[in-house]
Subunit: 429 residues, 2 copies
């Protein structure tokens, strides 16, 4: 399909979805097919996908599609009838968490999961205040938009949400030694808790992505999160880990991001990769919290936990285990990280390389002293990469951090293509 | 599967989902298969489904499953790339509304749709107050729970939501003549608007199901809704029609419930039947509202409007049109309504029969004078119907209104089975 057709499609889209519905790249991609780590556009051009974590076990994985089609042609109904799928799936999923996180609520999106986590925390504590990080995004419903300190309008006016600084070892805090950063950042959590109590709002909990992914996949000061969660629990609040990006083995070594930091959440929310694109998400929580929440207010979700979604979720777990994709994330992840660090030696614009399994952040800076963000260069780079057939994106408070987060079956050969293309594009910046 | 196995499944469910996750019937059903208007339990017993509107074009409709599987094996990704499916589907869907309702936002659940509608109304007006009916339920996220005057805890404490009385011709208002009911109920809307303004909260809009389904599918006083919406618009507020139950031709004569009442919403929300069980929902709204909303705050939904969901939604529209299911709703609906009114002649407990296409309410009362609710009898009746292989439920402020809402391919033979079984169960009450 030529660019004339794309322009026409874009015009029709603007008319029926509006002009603000976001699109990637200066020349939006018109995709028509996906398989494994590959995507094809309408012209038949192939792209290496180094961005989409939703297609977690690979685009259109046949095992997942088969499970979807088989259950959809057998029965798809809601959870007010008994069905094995939801019980089997919820048991298998909760078994991957600490014993204390024994109950599941199945929903359809990460926003829905975070909504129920917030309702649960506020019901449990009888208080309203939630701590998030600066530059956070957790979804698009109203209460969850209040958490969206990165750019959501509700966050700017909410009195019941406070943002603490991003715990970023690379940039740190002026006048604070590296060894003191964990305490300094954790103290900002304590300060926000105290402020909530003084203002009469009270403190309900802290909700963060344990990998601080949108914040730039920052390197946390050692022990920061454990110390911050210590303050949260000491004040009677709940710690909610938003694993929508970090979960399902993305980091390779662990199934869940919080396990990296040796902290135990009271509530975990799951989303994006859970159904390999099928709309499903979940809240995993302590049994006492779920039971008290259910007694407080009737909770039912029409689509959440339906037999089809649970069959899909089960197939995703099957593939992750059978294809040993967590091991792959560790091995290929290390290879990519090594390659990125080699590029850093040759390209001055790379200030920092950070990695967690198959999730990488490459921070582009103007110089290595001030570490000022090279935002415009990051924008040019992702468009150049796209033109050369490699899809990546960017994150961070200044949009200067390359975000590399491929489907989990990403191979060493894929990694070589990524690194070569990145090398070329960096050289041409 | 015998009842021992069901007990074990229920115990496992309680352990992993909690004891409050709602189930239908005194003896919960363990369903394993669905086809058309039929459901089968684990013992092989067949049930006529007169409840599930989510399986709108029939359980596991092969055309819908085929579309789902075909697109899921080709490409499933998000809307930051161009794709024909979302444009084609949004164009086809919006074409079924008034020309002024020209834009669509695709989401995953009715709760998500109502969240965005509320955010849009509050952004547009700069005010917070929302009017709903008493006995309303519109979803389970926090802001939407505030609307849930039927039983949601947030509704009890929200200052920015006011409930107006259910506009119910059958019960009416003490001391008000039938001819004056529309004005009386519409004046309560005007009163709530004035109260919001006096309290400094301001008025943003009214959100109701145009069929007042959860409220008991009440018969509206003629012209009530037009008058109420007149007050809403005169005060600068938006009228939001929640068509999650009423939409997609349920009422037979019209695609949308609001068309029955000759009112024009500013925003419409869609859900349940849209994907025949696949998690999808939408906001349909005026272009100026969508554009201003998009400019105000970035809106993106990871799963909403993906190519698979849009292929499924398209297949549902295909089946509705090709199998002429709106006509079927008119014809079979009239037959069922006639049969229910015949039963009313012979069973004193039936106080009122109301119908809109393939949606029926049978109000059970203690007597025809006071019309006091026969709540316990309604509970016994739905369980007796289930034992005899017919699935129905109940609604209304007193849970005394039988709710009959079968999949759209419901036939005259199905209707005869429903009416015969209802006759038998009523006789044995």
């Amino acid at each position: 399909m030529d660019s004339m057709d794309n322009r026409e499609l874009l015009e029709r889209r603007h008319k029926v979805l509006g002009t603000h519905s976001p699109l990637f790249y200066e020349q939006p991609l018109h995709l028509v097919r996906g398989e494994g780590v590959w995507l094809w556009d309408a012209d038949g051009k192939r792209y290496l996908d180094v961005y989409n974590n939703v297609a977690h076990v690979g685009h259109c994985h046949p095992r997942v599609v088969e499970a979807l089609a088989a259950q959809a042609s057998t029965l798809n109904t809601h959870t007010r009838y008994l069905h094995e799928n939801i019980v089997n799936y919820a048991e298998r999923l909760t078994a991957k968490f600490d014993d204390s996180l024994s109950m599941a609520m199945l929903v359809c999106t990460g926003s829905e999961a975070n909504e129920q986590a917030l309702r649960m925390a506020r019901q449990h504590t009888g208080k309203q205040g939630i701590i998030v990080s600066a530059c956070a995004y957790h979804g698009n419903t109203e209460a969850v938009s209040e958490l969206g300190t990165a750019f959501m309008p509700e966050a700017a006016t909410s009195k019941r949400v406070k943002a603490v600084p991003v715990p970023d070892s690379y940039h740190g805090v002026a006048g604070v030694a590296q060894d003191d950063l964990a305490d300094a950042y954790a103290n900002s959590v304590k300060g926000a808790i105290d402020a909530f109590e003084e203002e009469g709002i009270g403190f309900a909990g802290m909700l963060v992505c344990p990998l601080f992914a949108n914040e730039g996949l920052v390197t946390l000061p050692p022990d920061y999160l454990r110390k911050a969660v210590g303050h949260v629990h000491a004040a009677g609040g709940l710690f909610i880990a938003d694993e929508v990006q970090a979960g399902f083995g993305r980091s390779g070594k662990h199934w869940w991001g919080h396990q990296f930091e040796n902290v135990l959440p009271d509530i975990v929310t799951l989303g994006k990769p859970m159904g390999n694109g099928h709309p499903m998400a979940a809240v995993i929580a302590r049994a006492d919290l779920v039971e008290a929440f259910g007694e407080w207010g009737m909770y039912f979700n029409t689509f959440g936990g339906n037999p089809v979604s649970c069959a899909v979720g089960m197939a995703v777990l099957d593939v992750l285990e059978q294809e040993q994709l967590l091991d792959n994330a560790v091995q290929v992840g290390a290879f990519v990280a090594g390659g990125l660090r080699a590029l850093q030696q040759r390209h001055d614009i790379i200030g920092d390389v950070r990695d967690k399994g198959l999730f990488f952040a490459v921070e582009l800076v103007e110089d290595h002293g001030r570490r000022a963000p090279a935002t415009a260069a990051a924008g040019r780079l992702i468009n150049a990469m796209c033109q050369r057939g490699v899809l990546i994106s960017r994150i961070g408070p200044h949009d200067n951090v390359l975000k590399l987060r491929p489907p989990m079956p990403f191979s060493k050969a894929n990694a070589e293509q990524l690194l070569d293309t990145l090398d070329t594009c960096l050289a041409q910046l």
